[in-house]
């Protein structure tokens, strides 16, 4: 049997859990009829398949991680820039200037990357039997790209639901919600309770 070809959807990303020997990394791949979640841990790869026909929902939740990282990086970056400006002042202290420049760049690069990547999120995929965290989808823009790619494929396997239709169906089965009764045809006699 020929192995299926997979198209990469997300790059490897460290899973949000601790590893003893090696830190596990996860990535998401697109197969012909399924999504493949690959977890690399040291010298093994673990696979989870989510067939398009089984996917019930994909949830993207915004998180404040980008803001938190900005806060964490901004303080040493500010200190580094102030140190750089002071050491580069007319008195001139080249070794100190180089030190503060390197110090600033160490924090400036992740600061820029954090902001270029945009707002952070947590992405979950739901099937009838599980809710799986897609750990490698960590930014809203990335989640949008992934959804744009897989939504037509899932729709081809299952069909599509309009936003209003989803709300109607959920309201019909929500606890305490009254099922909607069909409207009587015009001219029909009134129904007695």
């Amino acid at each position: 049997m020929a192995e299926p070809a997979y198209q990469r959807l997300t790059r490897d990303r460290i899973a949000q859990q601790f590893g003893v020997v090696a830190v596990p990394r996860v990535s998401l791949w697109l197969g012909s009829d399924h999504l493949l979640l690959v977890e690399h841990s040291g010298f093994t790869e673990t696979y989870k398949r989510f067939y398009f026909r089984d996917i019930q929902a994909i949830t993207v939740r915004g998180t404040p991680r980008q803001t938190i990282w900005n806060g964490v990086l901004a303080l040493p970056l500010a200190i580094g820039l102030i140190g750089f400006m002071i050491s580069a002042a007319p008195t001139r202290n080249p070794p100190a200037t180089i030190f503060w420049a390197i110090f600033s760049v160490i924090f400036l690069l992740p600061f820029i990357v954090n902001n270029v990547r945009g707002p952070a999120c947590v992405c979950q995929l739901r099937t009838a039997v599980q809710i799986e965290n897609l750990g490698s989808v960590s930014r809203v823009r990335q989640a949008r790209k992934v959804l744009d790619k897989i939504r037509p494929l899932i729709a081809a396997a299952q069909g599509q639901l309009a936003p209003e239709e989803v709300s109607l169906r959920l309201r019909a089965i929500a606890p305490g919600a009254k099922p909607q009764e069909p409207e009587p045809p015009p001219g029909s006699p009134p129904v007695l309770a």
């Binding site: 010298f43 993207v60 009838a128 809710i131």
Partner: protein, 193 residues
Amino acid sequence: MTASPLIACPKCRAWLLDDVFNREEMKPCPACGTPLRIEVFPALFREAVSGPSAQPVMIEGESSCFFHPQKKAVVPCGGCGRFLCALCDCEFGAQHFCPACLEAGKSKGKIKALENERSRYDSIALGLAVLPIVFFYFTIVTAPVALYVAIRYWNKSHSLVHATRIRLVLALILSLLQIGGWGAFFIYLATRK
């Protein structure tokens, strides 16, 4: 299990009924305000279907299931050819297997779509070739082992998603260099006067 088709906010666990489903942009959760985007597909509302039940043999001489002689055979196993009743028939794609063949296919990696773990022998070989360089004396043992692993598993498929042999090639080159280095060192010791 996610038996209920209702969807809760991943943060505050409040049931979501409107607004956030199948929208292009993120919308705030009505309860906690967390930005959400939820793609819902028709599988969420699909009723669970109960599996077929096996029919008893009605006529003498009628083909019966290998595992349940009292039950009527409906299909032969695609792996071993045994007759199977509706209960033992494991339909996988377009193929039918008995539970034993399905388990064997999974454990021996014959059915690729069931494979959920692989050892990365290419990473093992590269690790054996690279990591001991820090403690150079170990390479007298690890270099031949890395060479053996690289040759032994050259034709074995390494990853479902990475089809390249670059790690094996690097492991081969590095281990050969290390072995060559040790060889040169021993020749030097032997010829030194």
